[in-house]
């Protein structure tokens, strides 16, 4: 038996690393007439489905993927989020959900 689990990996710039994207977003706030927003940090969210023997094995795969490919540990931190069993959130249709 194997289980399909849907994960999200949230990658963000580490504290102290300058984030030009965040700075650009922050710079646009004036144009929107929005005040009181600061410390904008722009990251990346990767959703994926893992097929593995059990939850622990699935988790180990995601952790490795996150550390070796999805983030650069020198400059980025990541958090793994479990979205649930993948049967109800098929990867092929995830992009077309309303």
């Amino acid at each position: 038996m194997s289980v399909d689990t849907r994960f999200a990996v949230n990658v963000s710039p580490k504290p102290g690393i300058l984030d030009p994207q965040g700075r650009a977003v922050e710079g646009s706030l004036d144009h929107l007439g929005i005040a009181g927003v600061s410390a904008v940090r722009v990251g990346r969210r990767v959703e994926l489905t893992v097929t593995a023997a059990d939850d622990a094995a699935a988790r180990a795969i995601v952790e490795r993927l996150a550390a070796e490919l999805l983030s650069n540990p020198l400059i980025e931190a990541y958090e793994v989020e479990v979205l649930g069993a993948a049967s109800s959130i098929e990867s092929e249709t995830a992009g077309t959900r309303p």
């Binding site: 690393i17 300058l18 030009p20 994207q21 700075r23 990346r44 650069n72 020198l74 400059i75």
Partner: protein
């Protein structure tokens, strides 16, 4: 016999032909190496050209790191083979952990495509020994993610070990400042434009020496870097050093500078 230098071609590489031209100007025989092939074909040195390997998806250079050719390049580097990464090639080498640090988005928020000045910090390396004297070298940059970053401890270590190979400089050769200094095009920490590994056989830089090899095109200041690399690879090849993973040792003669 001329020395054979591999030019790695990833999907999205776009400075590969410039690299081929520069190697020919420097007297080498360029050999195209396809990303999907593990063989380095017995080349004496490897050049990773500029471009947008694998579309620069995720992070510039990261997906290229896992290609079959890069596994062979890592093995080649471990054996002491000479590897030079330019622009995107530099990004690939940092993502592959063959070079220290990381290249962040330019601090000025813009893709920068213009001429800059850099100077070699050390003139006794395989990548700089034919440059002659220390002076400002004119060549173009063209990148969106070229801000060199490493933590303070690593930066101190790089400086102490002589691993900072190139720095952005002013016309008079003095080092550029931080991001507010126009001579530093991307906000690289300590104005670092290029580094080498601790062993000294792998180097990378963001500016493009390979497009500054002929005076008729605006500058030939980059030729000294390419020619140093070619001559060093030839010397190593001639000395019978291990030159490639699964390749054959190709005889060669040292190729002089210009």
């Amino acid at each position: 016999m001329t020395v054979r230098i591999g030019v790695v071609v990833f999907p999205g590489s776009n400075r590969d032909i410039d690299a081929v031209n520069a190697l020919e100007v420097a007297g080498a025989e360029p050999v195209m190496l396809w990303h999907d092939e593990a063989s380095l074909g017995g080349v004496a040195g490897v050049l990773l050209p500029g471009g947008f390997a694998y579309g620069d998806y995720l992070r510039a250079g990261v997906i290229a790191r896992f290609s079959p050719v890069m596994r062979s390049v890592a093995g080649f580097a471990d054996e002491g083979g000479l590897v030079l990464g330019i622009c995107n090639g530099f990004q690939v080498l940092t993502e592959a952990h063959l070079l220290p640090g990381a290249l962040l988005r330019n601090r000025g928020l813009r893709f920068v495509s213009r001429e800059v000045q850099i100077a070699a910090e050390h003139l006794d390396t395989p990548f700089t020994h034919l440059l002659g004297e220390r002076r400002a070298l004119r060549m173009p940059v063209a990148h969106g993610e070229g801000a060199f970053y490493a933590d303070d401890g690593t930066l101190d270590e790089l400086e102490a070990n002589g691993q900072v190979l190139f720095r952005y400089v002013h016309h008079d050769g003095s080092p550029a400042g931080g991001e507010e200094d126009g001579a530093n095009p991307n906000g690289s920490l300590r104005a670092i434009a290029g580094v080498r590994n601790a062993a000294g056989n792998v180097a990378g830089l963001m500016p493009h020496p390979e497009t500054a090899v002929e005076a008729v095109l605006g500058s030939d200041d980059g030729l000294g870097i390419i020619a140093s690399f070619v001559a060093s690879a030839a010397e190593r090849d001639w000395a019978g050093g291990p030159v490639a993973v699964g390749g054959t040792v190709v005889g060669g003669t040292a190729v002089g500078a210009r």
